[in-house]
Amino acid sequence: MWLRNNALQASALGAGLLLTAAIALIAFYVPTDADQGLSQKIFYFHVPIALTAYACFGWGAWKALRHLWHRDERADLESYVAIHLGVIFGALTIVTGSIWARASWGVWWAWQSRQLVLFLVLFLFYCAYFMLRYSVESGPRRARLSAVYAIFGVVLIPISFLAIRLAEDFIHPTVFTSRGPQMAGSMFFTFCVSWAAMLATAHALYRIELAGKRIDAQLRELGELLT
C-alpha cells in the first residue's frame, strides 16, 4: 500500500536503481567488444534510448486514441507529455547516435544508419506536433487536432522505416551493419537491464511532468475561482 500512495517516489526510486545497475554493468561487467572496441559500449545507451522514444510515441498515440474514442479528457495532457518525452529521448538518440557514428566511422552524421535517419524524420514530424499545439488556442479543438496528429505519427514510423530501407537501393548501396541481437549472454543481459532502466526513467519523468502540469492547471483554476 505504501507503493500505491507513493507511486511517484517509487517510480523515481526504481528508475534510479535500475540506471545505477545499468551503468555499473556497462562499466565493470560486460566485456569490451572484440571488433568495435570500447566505442561499442555507447550502444548500451543509444539503442535503449531509441526504443524508449518509440515507446513514448506509441504511448502518446494510445492516449490520443483514448481521447478521441472514449472522450477521455485527461488523455490529451497524457498524450502531450508522452510525446514531449519522446522528442527528448529522440533528440538524445540522435546525439548519442551521432557520437557513435563519429567514434565508429569518423563522421558526425551517417545517412547509412537507418536508425539515425528514421529518428531525424520522426524528430521533424513531432517537432511539427509542438508547432501545431502552440498555434491553436487551448481547448477541445487543440486536443483533437493533436490527438489525430499523434496517431498519424505512429503510422508514419513503420512507413518511414520501410521508405528508408527502400531508399538505400538508390542512395547508399553500402550499409554499415552495427552489432545487432547476436550478442553474447552477458552483453544481452546488460542490454536488457539498460533498456529497463531507460523505460523506468521515462516512466518516472512522465509521471513527474504530468503531476507538474496537473498542479499548474489546478492552481490556475483555483486562482480563477478566487477572483
Binding site: I23, G37, L38, S39, K41, I42, F45, H46, I49, I88, L92, V95, T96, I99, W100, R102, A103, T201, L205, I208, G212, I215, D216, L219, L222, G223, L226
Partner: protein
C-alpha cells in the same frame, strides 16, 4: 584517454547532462508553483 574512451564518455555525459537539466527544470517549476500557491493562500486569508 584514448579517443574511443573520450567518445564513450561524451555519449554518457550527454545523457547525464540531459537528466540533470530535467532536474533543474523541475526544481524551478516547483519554486514557481510554490510561489503561486503562497499567493493564493494570502488571497484566501485576505478574504477572511
Amino acid at each position: 584517454m584514448t579517443s574511443a574512451e573520450k567518445y564513450v564518455a561524451a555519449a554518457y555525459l550527454v545523457v547525464f547532462v540531459a537528466l540533470l537539466a530535467y532536474v533543474v527544470i523541475i526544481a524551478s517549476k516547483l519554486a514557481r508553483l510554490e510561489a503561486a500557491l503562497t499567493e493564493l493562500v494570502e488571497r484566501v486569508r485576505a478574504r477572511g
